[in-house]
Symmetry: C2
Subunit: 211 residues, 2 copies
Amino acid sequence: MAPQSHLIPSRLAKRAHYDKETIYSILDEALFCTVSYVADNKPFSMPTAFVRYENKLYIHGSVGSHFIWALEKGAPVCISVTLIDALVVAKSAFSHSVNYRSVVLFSQGEKIEDANVKSAALEWLTNKIVPNSWSYLRPMKENEVKKTTVLAFEIDEASAKVRTGMPNDEEEDKPLPIWSGIIPIETTRRDPVPDDLSREIPLPKHLLPII
Amino acid sequence: MAPQSHLIPSRLAKRAHYDKETIYSILDEALFCTVSYVADNKPFSMPTAFVRYENKLYIHGSVGSHFIWALEKGAPVCISVTLIDALVVAKSAFSHSVNYRSVVLFSQGEKIEDANVKSAALEWLTNKIVPNSWSYLRPMKENEVKKTTVLAFEIDEASAKVRTGMPNDEEEDKPLPIWSGIIPIETTRRDPVPDDLSREIPLPKHLLPII
């Protein structure tokens, strides 16, 4: 992916990545993104679930959503995705940092009209959020597909930023007897909790904890 | 906080909250936000750490950062903060949802010029990310404060959205023998990992795991 001028970070250029492998791996791990757009010359943004498939990112929403209306006309969007891996604790506050993997991409929505593609995108999205769940669920109805808008965003103008590793303390701070290192941040799925309708229903295989 | 017209959600209005208690509690739990702004009529956004103090939200950055330059002139921003609590797994994909707490606020940056306020904001931010750490660290130097821009954003035009609880399956789906419930998502801090400079340095009290 060719770095475009406004994608080139002014600082910390060593953190920037433009290869699809890095960009896709971040997009495929994150479940949620923030979509920003401009209305009346002001910024608006909205968190939403998404899935990448081939070189497009897909989101969905109700046909009645203001947010979706604004985007389905093809307004320019900035989509940002952030995974936090660790807090980087240095010997000085100034050298504190964060280990993260983020993607920022610029695109515009394309409203998916084909019911098969819409349904496929909803399947990709559902299987991303709860792996292997789509075929277990009550099948999607035609009117549910109709009530849902699916938007696709080409992933062409995108960059990733990645920071890993330990603090970079100033040379003169290194001998100080102040603890420095990282505090890993972990986001995990806990055991599923059934609702009242499902107390007698065995957990399906795809929801069993991986041992 | 009075709901302003563009803050009123078109759908799911029951999820909206405008009271400061709800908004502050979300802002105080989240460490990172996404700041969106408009440049050349296009949306840009950037994830960054932040802290709330009284009725303002503070972010910081290098005086050399393009992002900070764009905001310090007082451009309108949309700041969004999202905490994910659970995946809501229904009997149909259509009824799937997410338990989340989010805040969207509209504001504009005010560049903090007073070195004492700047330093105080950096202290609030540092102590939010690593509680009680500021006084343990090598003290901030005057030139470090100079190299850092601190921006404050008044929290006036803000709304929270909160979803909690179990799936809301369609009446006709409720008898289906399909598992429904929630998968809690937990974000936790793991044990601190020292860097090579700190293997012999005892963990300070504020970094000890809470038992």
